[in-house]
Symmetry: C2
Subunit: 142 residues, 2 copies
């Protein structure tokens, strides 16, 4: 079992306040605000951290399965789009769209799509996100 740590702070009210998010490994500390989360200030926000966590977990899981099948990936590149939508109960993360491109010698497009579907359904972060619809579009680089 591993325990991973992180920290965050918030000072002040929703609109005027400011926050930080900090990774336990010390790798990163970033500032965020109402404007960087719900508007267009170019700083970080919880949703892009979540998107990076899912994209990383998915890519590692896909690489693992391809390696076990005897067709290791030269490279997998995955984008995550995290949709934050306003509904009756306020904002929710309704959907995350993954788009993955693989350089994988020795397999065909249909097989790659199936590996990607399995990683999307089975990876650790996907399984944690029980209330989010996750989709994946997968193609092999030619």
């Amino acid at each position: 079992m591993a325990v991973r740590n992180a920290k965050a702070t918030w000072e002040g009210t929703l609109q005027e306040g400011t926050g930080t998010m900090h990774l336990g490994s010390g790798a990163y500390t970033g500032k965020f605000s109402y404007r960087s989360r719900f508007e267009d200030e170019p700083a970080t926000n919880p949703e892009e951290l979540l998107g990076a966590a899912l994209a990383g977990c998915f890519s590692m899981s896909l690489g693992s399965a391809l390696g076990k099948a005897g067709t290791p990936a030269k490279k997998i590149e995955t984008e995550a789009q995290v949709h934050l939508t306003k509904g009756e109960t306020g904002f929710s993360i309704t959907r995350i769209e993954l788009t993955t491109v693989g350089e994988v010698p020795g397999i065909d497009q249909n097989s790659f799509v199936q590996f990607a579907e399995n990683a999307k359904n089975g990876c650790i972060v996907s399984r944690a996100l029980g209330n989010v619809e996750i989709t994946v579009a997968a193609r092999l680089k030619v």
Copy 2:
């Protein structure tokens, strides 16, 4: 509605491969590996990004509610511990423990605990994590 972006890569097999995770705002790109995720290499991993996203979201939500109640927080500091546990279906994120300390003039400990419980249950990232048990321990700084 907002759409937030992130990217990740993975090259190679599970044990020998290497990955990156990248925030769409450009705020951070970090390397990760099997060892930084499941063992003790001091680099980032998806779980600490998820922990930071939840701690940030929770702290902002708590700050928002305290502000709306007329008792804005001077400061909220939250730690997240993300438990990655091996079970029958492989590793899962079974539990995230939040510990929050507030500097909030004008409210008492019991009220602060109730605000923290509400933020834990209601914040955007908490609601996305449908398959994770989230707990919060809250205390006012005296």
